[in-house]
Symmetry: C2
Subunit: 371 residues, 2 copies
């Protein structure tokens, strides 16, 4: 059967780049923050190899910004995350779990500090603006919160730095990982950060003008011809091989940062005024996100993880890795059942099959897999 | 060019009925509350005529429930809406705009009162749970808020009452509009409300068990054969002819209820403790949602409303009505520019074209249009 097509509407927002993306022959979309996000151009596998070798332009406009401005801006952002932001400076980006008062995750944005009174949260797929506004209204914080018209454009891949520098100049080379600079494009300053949802390196340009954005798109393709620039998008193979998590799939409202391996982003010992920190200090993890590897192509007949016939977990993301010739999955498992376990079962159309359990991100060398 | 296909993932949730919907040959999906919502089965027009004549089963699982339980439940719901709920009783449903402290809309759910300490908000496409939780956390209200696993199933169309009664019994006939009863299906009580996003009449069954839900789906098709039951979904032609608004398209965070004609759902004179009521008493509408009619099929070249060459508004929804042989649109226009205006211009591929302006819902008879 044909996969159903997507029906667009005003509610399901297009982006300044949709015309460009469609001219490039986008084959699939998902919806993210009420907005179109391309999922495939040539094929998942061709897109993957191209991303790992060259440079791609990604329409990641759906990474919406929640803008928090006002005297209580820093206080509110700190309330929302258990990660210590007291040493945050202008020019820095932070991957931060947002958690509620029970420690459950609300989102996992990149927080961008403009200054003490001005933050952006570059969000995953939940309406963080409503959470932030609800808290601020309820707590009577002195902040203004909105979703400004900003449409991030990703430049990702090993040739990304070369390409970005050709357009924005040599200053690009000095931007460190998770740092940003304000750089001009045709006279308009845009935030240029060394970040992106791949491990192939690259930048995100926080485009603030739709016409300029399309000019930028066109220019990147024009000046990047010899770098074999192409259209792309977050790639399920690459992001899973790299161990990047997707909010809504691999984690959600009922998981804590600890359960999905985000321990390093929780400042348990810091003296911070955060909604979730007390709960996180007390809450015992019940689940654990692990990697699952099967060294052959499997048609899974469900998305469950078994220990013999018992269900002990659930697959949250899955993909075939052409590089490692393995079926890779992330699975959220019962902590007590998965601890110290090296193998589990998955159900395929030929019955139960053994699968290896491993930590995330995958250590392919330790797994004896050569790329 | 082919319309791109939709890429599913765990984040983009399927429903207990997805297997049934796909077996029925669903051709398009949209995404609503992070969940699949079918948009078309045969064709928009065939689906429309069938809905107006027979009965359809709709997978509207995406109408997620935000459950608010606790001593402060009624107080919180009243905080969130400018509609007076002081006379609300168990068994009643209320269409309520949710508004922030500026009067801007957050969502337009149906509020379902279980009792003073237990409400459901059956929401449109924004994460109302985060808004409610943020407010409750910030205001220290004594409530528990979650999105329980409830998947509404719509039974819509002129034969809906007959079909629903065949399964749930004669008590169905006594349910008045926007009222509900708890009725048993195979021994499990489910909330059955006379409601739905069409004006063809019908019910929504708040399914609370996925297996029972599929049994119910199958039974409705089995016992409804002679009623010509078919698969369906909210239909753009029917909902626009009926004047039903879609949050995210026809209204959003920056529109007030008054600007989109929801005056009757704002209790300006009531003594209620509502976040938005003070702002709504003061805020002057700047825009107005109007109906636009062109008595021929037009290829619009943009989604703007013109007064000669000036842009005075934006089309928020649009469809061709086969019944009235007219292009229908909803448009959000500058209030001062649209007031007392009977005609505007829209831009088609052959240049500007005159279009009639009318109130909503459309009064087709007054427009001289016969169905």
């Amino acid at each position: 059967m044909m996969t159903p097509q997507i029906t667009t509407s005003k509610r399901l927002r297009s982006t300044p780049f949709t015309s460009r993306v469609e001219a490039c022959g986008v084959k699939g979309y998902t919806v993210y923050n009420h907005m179109l996000l391309p999922t495939v151009f040539r094929s998942l596998e061709e897109d993957y190899w191209h991303l790992c070798e060259y440079v791609q332009i990604w329409d990641v406009s759906c990474e919406r910004q929640v803008e928090i401005i006002g005297p209580d801006a820093q206080k509110l952002v700190q309330k929302m995350t258990p990660r210590d932001l007291s040493k945050a400076k202008t020019g820095m980006c932070f991957y931060i779990p947002l958690c509620d008062e029970t420690g459950g995750m609300i989102n996992d944005p990149i927080a961008i500090k403009h200054n003490d009174n001005h933050w952006w949260l570059s969000i995953a797929d939940t309406d963080v603006m409503l959470w932030a506004k609800g808290l601020a209204t309820g707590m009577d914080f002195d902040v203004q919160i909105c979703e400004p018209d900003i449409w991030p454009l990703g430049i990702q891949g090993p040739k990304a730095e070369e390409l970005t520098a050709r357009v924005f100049g040599k200053e690009v080379n000095d931007i460190r990982f998770f740092r940003y600079k304000m750089l001009a494009y045709k006279g308009t300053e845009m935030l240029v950060a060394r970040s992106g949802w791949s491990k192939q390196g690259g930048f995100e340009i926080y485009v603030n003008d739709p016409d300029l954005g399309r000019d930028l798109w066109d220019e990147l393709f024009r000046v990047g011809k010899d770098l074999n620039v192409g259209p792309g998008c977050p790639n399920q193979i690459e992001r899973m091989e790299s161990g990047l998590l997707s909010f809504g799939s691999d984690m959600s409202f009922d998981t804590t940062p600890f359960e999905v391996g985000l321990d390093q982003y929780v400042s348990l010992d810091a003296r911070i005024d955060s909604l979730s920190i007390t709960a996180l200090r007390k809450r015992n993890p019940k689940k654990k996100l692990v990697g699952i590897v099967v060294n052959e192509q499997v048609d899974f007949s469900d998305n469950l993880i078994y220990q013999d016939d018992f269900v002990i977990g659930e697959i949250t993301s899955m993909v075939w890795s052409p590089r490692y010739q393995s079926q890779l999955a992330f699975a959220l498992c019962d902590l007590s059942a998965i601890s110290s376990r090296t193998h589990v079962h998955v159900r395929s159309n030929d019955g139960l099959k053994q699968a290896r359990v491993t930590k995330l991100p995958f250590d392919f060398e330790a797994l004896g897999l050569k790329g």
